[in-house]
Structure formats: structure tokens, C-alpha cells
């Protein structure tokens, strides 16, 4: 039987942190993705420039570097902003907040492209019909457009979530107590690197499988109004 030298609980705690990090980044990323896609399709040039700049930079820079820049750079940036308002105390952002920011930004950049494609795939008639019914633009977006965008975007978003889940491991580099970090601690105590990294790998694999099942279920649910001919 597998002997984890009592580090099993620690690893499970790490898994809980990993899941929290993934879900928080997902939320941030989804919002950024929708905003990014709306900006790209807005037809307003400055907004399009900002969105293009954002997606090009984030998608061309390694995720690890994004995590490092945010973790080590955010302190400097935040303190200089705060000093403008007369606040001179030391500000530090923790690994979790830095992780959510970095992974959320990364997810958002890729999600922008997914949502953009999905938004463009909604037939013009749907917009026209909603407007003809006298719907307010905001209501039209949330009731008519978004549910359909969701259905089309789900497979892409699901894949991005699987990538995000694996990227959470990078935040252990700046000290977040996730699965990876807990495995590192266990390794330095027990001198059994292969065992613990393999266990960590299978924990990530299990999370991946669970996510795949959830995405599959969501996809089924989102397309319940669609009949497949």
C-alpha cells in the first residue's frame, strides 16, 4: 500500500488551495474574456487597440513570467499608486492574489478569442428579433445572446479551464501552498521525490478528469434546446 508518511492530509489541503485558485481565476478570466471580446467587436478603435494589445502580450509571454511579474512587480506598482494618495505603508500582495491575477489575465486573453468567435456566430436575426420585441439592450444581452454564446463557447472554455488547472502549479514557485508546494515539502522531509511527485501528478489528473466530466455535463445542459439532426 502507498505510504505517504502522514503527508496525505497536507496534499489534500494543497488540492483544496489548487481548486480555489483555479475557480477564482476562472471567474476573473471569464469576466475579462467577455469584456475583451465585447471590446474587440465594439467597433470603437481605442477599445479594440487595448483589447488587441492585451491578448497579444499575454499570449506571447510565458505564464510563469506573468506570475513572476505580477508577484514581484505588483508591490512596486501598488505602492507607487498608493503613495499618490498619501499612503506610504508597505503593501504586499500574497501569492494567492498574485496567482488569481496572473492566471485570470492569461485565461481572459485566450477566452477573449473564444467568446469573440461565439459572439460572431450568433445569427443577426436573434439580435433583430430581441430588439423587435422591445427588449432593452442589456436584457437582450443577458437573456438572448449570452445563453447562446455560452453554448457555442463552452467546448473552448472547457479546454482553457483544463490548461488553467495545470497552470495553477506555477503559482507554487512564488510560495502558494498548493499541491505542488505540499509535494515539495513532503519530498524535502522524506527524500522520496518520485513517489510524491507521482502522487501529485495523479491528483492533477483526477482534477482534470472531474473537470472533463463537469464540462461534458454543462455542454449537454447548455444545448438541451438544440436538436441534433
Amino acid at each position: 500500500m502507498l505510504n505517504l508518511h502522514g503527508f496525505g492530509d497536507q496534499l489534500l489541503q494543497g488540492a483544496s488551495i489548487t481548486i480555489q485558485l483555479a475557480l477564482c481565476s476562472l471567474l476573473v478570466g471569464l469576466v475579462l474574456g467577455l469584456l475583451g471580446a465585447s471590446a474587440k467587436l465594439s467597433g470603437i478603435k481605442p477599445l479594440q487597440w487595448i483589447a488587441n494589445f492585451y491578448t497579444t502580450i499575454i499570449r506571447g509571454v510565458p505564464e510563469l513570467l506573468t506570475v513572476l511579474i505580477i508577484y514581484f512587480g505588483a508591490t512596486t506598482v501598488l505602492m507607487s499608486i498608493a503613495s499618490v494618495f498619501g499612503y506610504d505603508e508597505y503593501i504586499e500582495i500574497g501569492p494567492f492574489a498574485a496567482g488569481v491575477t496572473a492566471l485570470g489575465l492569461t485565461f481572459g486573453a485566450y477566452a477573449t478569442e473564444v467568446f469573440r468567435g461565439a459572439l460572431q456566430a450568433i445569427p443577426k436575426g436573434q439580435h433583430e428579433a430581441a430588439t423587435a420585441l422591445g427588449m432593452h439592450p442589456r436584457r437582450k444581452f443577458f437573456r438572448i445572446i449570452l445563453p447562446q454564446v455560452w453554448r457555442i463557447a463552452l467546448p473552448g472554455i472547457g479546454n482553457l479551464f483544463l490548461v488553467l488547472l495545470k497552470d495553477t502549479a506555477l503559482v507554487s514557485v512564488v510560495g502558494l501552498e498548493d499541491i505542488m508546494r505540499k509535494a515539495n515539502v513532503a519530498v524535502s522531509n522524506t527524500k522520496e521525490p518520485f513517489l510524491f511527485y507521482l502522487v501529485a501528478a495523479f491528483m492533477y489528473l483526477a482534477l482534470t478528469i472531474v473537470s472533463m466530466i463537469v464540462v461534458h455535463y454543462l455542454e449537454k445542459r447548455a444545448s438541451r434546446g438544440i436538436s441534433r439532426g
Binding site: L65, A200, A201, T208
Partner: protein, 238 residues
């Protein structure tokens, strides 16, 4: 906030030597990864579950776990076993460079195999039938028709994989390698200028990925030239 970009100029030679390391890592693992990926993809297509089962498990494992875990498994994990430490492989597995290459190769081969499989399966059934009708052997069919065709189909996705590999190569810095990210981190440990140096490193990564994108556009145009204008046309969304 005062940014002093003169440190970037001062340390540019070291950043460039880190860049060279990154390029070496990416090129070697991409080439080795493609060599491993081809048989994997071919086996994965097989209808016999005994042949397709193992590549399926391999691909699933390497795509379903973080690359960071895989690197640590190779670099730290392998040394747990005395057998490994006493084997002829030890001089290789002791070196962080080769551990990174091994981990990257295993990882990218899993992704590349799926890309290859998709490309081979995207070839219309009619072309396979045509090969059979004119009496080609299986080897001839793959060598003359299917693989060259798949090469053209594979290019855009393969270009993306190289860029993902480029970004993933930053993880080599976690096992003490001085690639672009690793070099940036050592410079910062000395100068305490994280924003300037990391931004410079980010700009270099961005530049490399743009070069990769440009090269792939050229190759794609050439490879798919027989399609005429079709290859240039971007498919409509929606």
C-alpha cells in the same frame, strides 16, 4: 514609481545568452518531440485497442498533468532510485539541461501526437480509397500521400504548439537552468529591478513567438500552394 531601463542595457548580453539557451531547449525538444509523436499518432489511430491503448494512456497522462510536475519527476524523481544512479543513464539524468529536454520532449510529443492524429484523420476518406484502388501498399500510401497531406494540414496547429513549447520552456528555470527566465531571475536577485528585467524578458519572448508565427505563415503558404487561393482565404466565422 521610477523605472530605470539602463539595467536592461547593462545586462542585455546575459539576457541574450539566456535567450540562446531557451532557443536550444525549444528546438531540441520540438524536433525530438515530433520524432516520438509520429509513431504515437499512428499507433493511436489503430483500431486494435491493444495497439491504441498504450499511446492513449501516455497522451492522457502527459496532457492531463502540469509540466512542472513532469520536470520535477524527471529531475528529482529519477534520482530516488539507486538503479538509475548506478546506470549508464546517470551522467545524462544528472544534468538539468537533459532533464528539461526529456520532460519537454515527453510533454510536447503527447500534444504533437494528437495534432498529427487530427491531421491524418482529416484527410478525406476518398483519398485513402484512391490509394488502395491503384494498389499502393500501406507504407507507400502513408509515405507518398497521407503524410505529405497531413503535413500541410498540421502546420497551423503545429505552429501553435511550438509557441506553447516556447512559453513552457520558462519552466526550465525551476530546475536551475539559466534560460531566459532563469537568467532574468538571477539578474533580479542581484539588481532588485524585477519590473524592468521581467518586462525585457517578456519582450524577448514576444519577439521570438512573432518570428515563429512569421516563419510558419511562409511555410504554410508554400506547403499549401497547390490549393491556390484557397489556402489564403480565412474561413468565415459563423
Amino acid at each position: 514609481m521610477e523605472l530605470d531601463f539602463s539595467v536592461v542595457i547593462e545586462y542585455l548580453p546575459r539576457l541574450l545568452s539566456g535567450t540562446w539557451m531557451t532557443i536550444k531547449l525549444v528546438l531540441l525538444s520540438i524536433v525530438l518531440g515530433a520524432i516520438v509523436a509520429l509513431p504515437l499518432a499512428l499507433a493511436r489511430i489503430s483500431k486494435n485497442p491493444l495497439i491504441s491503448g498504450l499511446p492513449f494512456a501516455y497522451i492522457f497522462f502527459f496532457r492531463g498533468t502540469p509540466l512542472l510536475v513532469q520536470i520535477f519527476l524527471v529531475y528529482y524523481g529519477a534520482s530516488q532510485f539507486e538503479v538509475v544512479r548506478e546506470s549508464f543513464m546517470w551522467p545524462v539524468l544528472r544534468e538539468p539541461f537533459w532533464c528539461a529536454i526529456i520532460a519537454f520532449t515527453l510533454n510536447t510529443s503527447a500534444y504533437t501526437a494528437e495534432i498529427f492524429r487530427g491531421a491524418i484523420q482529416a484527410i478525406p476518406e476518398g483519398e485513402v480509397e484512391a490509394c488502395k484502388v491503384i494498389g499502393m501498399t500501406k507504407t507507400q500510401m502513408y509515405r507518398r500521400i497521407l503524410l505529405p497531406r497531413a503535413f500541410g494540414i498540421v502546420l497551423p496547429a503545429y505552429g501553435n504548439e511550438i509557441i506553447l513549447m516556447l512559453k513552457a520552456s520558462a519552466l526550465a528555470s525551476t530546475i536551475t537552468l539559466l534560460d531566459l527566465t532563469g537568467m532574468a531571475r538571477t539578474i533580479i536577485a542581484r539588481t532588485y529591478t524585477p519590473i524592468e528585467i521581467f518586462l525585457a524578458a517578456g519582450a524577448i519572448y514576444l519577439l521570438i513567438s512573432m518570428v515563429v508565427i512569421y516563419i510558419f505563415r511562409l511555410v504554410e503558404k508554400r506547403q499549401n500552394r497547390y490549393l491556390g487561393t484557397q489556402s489564403i482565404k480565412v474561413p468565415d466565422k459563423g
